[in-house]
């Protein structure tokens, strides 16, 4: 009774390469995002000027040779501020998503696995946070606990976690009736282990895809909050705040708003392309059939 040999599965790197070549948009998004990460990581070496250094003599200089993206009303170099601002944006993205996942994933896991009354209780609790218009809840929360970047991030995370709870719940409910769950139970495996090792992995793909898409939106949402004055406060270096500070002058001095605005746009777009690509890459029904 000998078994026929099993074909060796292609390596992860080979698969990724194969995929990337067929998805130029994913590759482009990845390239831009890597650029943002590199900018954030090596900001002190890349930025030609101190992002906080004020030179009233050089204020509102148009983009050109000494100042690539020009300077703002206080004479600060906009290019340097954008490079440093990448740090803030990445920090915002990761923090908001971490908080949202930390709240949303356990709620979805318990609701989906146990079902019934607990499910109702947890999901209706989550729905409360979905009932507010997207920016209104963060505004209300920051108004209550005070403005500031961390409070803004907390507020965004709190208004977003229900989406993750829903995704995880749906994925967990789909596997709850599987025979391998019953089989594991019949072997005396405990609920906690089944939840973590059988139910949770099933929600991994949709959560990763959703989170990668949302990464851009967190940057956008934080920028919006900064823009209306309840997110990052000066002298913090943040793209949304930069746009907000140029509010009174950008008609004459377009670069003060255009440069940070473009940075936000490009980063959010890149992250979205990555999210789209990941969905195809991680979902076996998409990728390989193309």
């Amino acid at each position: 009774m000998s078994e026929s040999p099993v074909l060796a599965a292609p390596g992860r790197a080979a698969r990724l390469r194969w995929f990337a070549v067929r998805n130029p948009l994913f590759l482009a998004g990845l390239a831009v995002f890597v650029l943002v990460i590199v900018g954030a990581a090596f900001a002190p070496w890349i930025a030609p000027y101190d992002p906080h250094a004020i030179h009233f003599a050089d204020k509102l200089v148009a983009p050109g040779t000494p100042h690539l993206f020009g300077t703002d009303a206080l004479g600060r170099d906009i290019f340097s501020r954008i490079v440093w601002g990448a740090r803030t944006s990445l920090y915002i993205g990761f923090t908001v998503l971490s908080i949202a996942l930390l709240i949303g994933v356990p709620i979805g896991l318990f609701a989906g696995y146990y079902g019934g009354r607990l499910d109702h209780l947890l999901m209706r609790f989550s729905d409360v946070f979905l009932a507010f218009p997207p920016l209104l809840l963060p505004i209300a929360i920051t108004a209550a606990i005070g403005p500031g970047l961390f409070h803004a991030m907390l507020a965004i995370a709190v208004s977003w976690f229900p989406w993750y709870a829903r995704i995880v719940r749906g994925a967990v409910m789909r596997v709850r009736g599987e025979l391998y769950i019953t089989a594991a139970r019949a072997m005396g495996v405990r609920h906690a282990w089944i939840m973590l090792r059988h139910a949770l992995p099933n929600s991994r793909t949709p959560v990763i895809v959703q989170a990668s898409m949302d990464f851009g939106y967190t940057i956008l949402a934080a920028a919006s909050l900064s823009f209306i004055g309840i997110g990052a406060r000066p002298p913090a270096v943040e793209w949304g705040l930069m746009v907000a500070m140029s509010r009174s002058k950008f008609l004459e001095y377009w670069w003060t708003a255009a440069a940070p605005g473009f940075a936000i746009f490009v980063t959010v777009l890149a992250v979205n392309l990555i999210g789209d690509g990941l969905r195809d890459l991680l979902d076996p029904r998409h990728g390989s059939s193309q």
Binding site: M1, S2, E3, V6, G115, G116, E178, L179, Y180, T182, A183, A184, R185, A186, M187, G188, V189, R190, H191, W193, R197, H198, P201, N202
Partner: protein
């Protein structure tokens, strides 16, 4: 009189619905003695699988079990989740009809095989892996080491069922509940699995509750057989006695419906009527609407099991007479 590994007394399992209640199991009595192989047979939907799940306290929600189920003296019904965790896998393990779905496709065989071993035998990772290899050797899977690192989809149905049996026996339970373990496999593999189970039962003294609708399998594998109809055991006894000389008309019809090779192309025998709706089971003997021998007493009074001969019990008001062939065989 405490040699029974599994003792089921007056088991009832009900599934409440909107305006009705399905009585999946109705006063089921079963006993499986140490080292015995008991075959539980019956048509689809007669409550075999639900009975098996109930033995491990795994009746799916919103079902509710009542009565008494004792595993090596430990009560299952109403026991705590913690105590049941010890019984499941440790005292009684279960294998299922469809081995392809019984393992999580996301994890390797080894990953899933070693966890229950660590749980019930308290072994560390390396020792558990060694025990897993040993169990795979016991079920005669070629290349156990290789199989451990494979994902379920890389193994065949027969190989997966061997893995499931290995998982079940690796924790050294007293009782193995096998819920139609060969139904999803093709005939030659079926035979191999049956032979394997028979050898395991003989060599390790494993007690087996074997659920099937295949009377041929029962005849080759089991010591005793219990026939289930509409959620209750209608006849049970030694395999030779029950199959050679069925006392309950349902068992007789069931045996008559087994097609035989070389019988010619005549019409296949079947049992007239339909399996009763368990939301509204018939009064008296559940089989009376389909039974030629039914009388008015069958309609009104539910027959209690009584001895036909020695350990051979049947729950029928008008049992079949012992056949000449069976009489001659004894």
């Amino acid at each position: 009189m405490n040699t029974a590994v599994l003792s089921v007394r007056g088991l009832r399992v009900e599934f409440p619905g909107l305006g009705y209640t399905v009585q999946a199991v109705r006063d089921c009595d079963l006993e499986v003695g140490a080292g015995e192989v008991l075959g539980l047979v019956g048509e689809s939907g007669c409550g075999k699988s639900v009975t098996a799940l109930a033995c491990l306290g795994l009746v799916p929600a919103p079902g509710h079990a009542s009565g008494s189920i004792k595993l090596c003296g430990h009560e299952v019904i109403g026991n705590t989740e913690r105590a049941l965790g010890e019984l499941r896998g440790g005292t009684a393990a279960m294998i299922f009809q469809n081995p392809n779905a019984a393992l999580n496709p996301f994890f390797t065989v080894g990953h899933q095989l070693t966890h229950p071993i660590r749980l019930h035998r308290g072994l560390r990772r390396a020792a558990a892996r060694a025990a897993a290899v040993e169990a795979l050797q016991a079920v005669r899977l070629s290349d156990p080491e290789l199989a451990l690192d494979r994902y379920p989809h890389q193994l065949s149905g027969g190989q997966l069922q061997r893995v499931m049996i290995a998982m079940a026996i690796a924790s050294r339970p007293r009782l193995l509940i096998a819920d139609e373990p060969t139904t999803a496999l093709d005939v030659t593999v079926q035979a191999q699995i049956i032979v394997l189970l028979r050898e395991l039962a003989a060599s390790t003294g494993l007690t087996v509750l074997f659920i099937t609708h295949d009377l041929g399998v029962v005849a080759t594998l089991c010591d005793r057989v219990a026939v289930m109809y509409a959620g209750t055991v209608v006849e049970q006894g030694p395999v030779g006695a029950v199959i050679g000389s069925p006392a309950h008309p349902y068992t007789g019809k069931l045996l008559g419906a087994v097609p035989k090779i070389g019988q010619g192309r005549g019409e296949l025998a079947s049992i007239p009527g339909q399996v009763p709706n368990l939301a509204a089971p018939p009064s008296g003997c559940a089989f009376h609407p389909r039974c030629e021998r039914a009388s008015s007493s069958c309609e009104q009074q539910r027959p209690a099991p009584h001895a036909v001969e020695g350990p051979h019990l049947a729950a029928c008001h008008h049992p079949l007479a012992p056949t000449a062939a069976a009489a001659g065989a004894r």
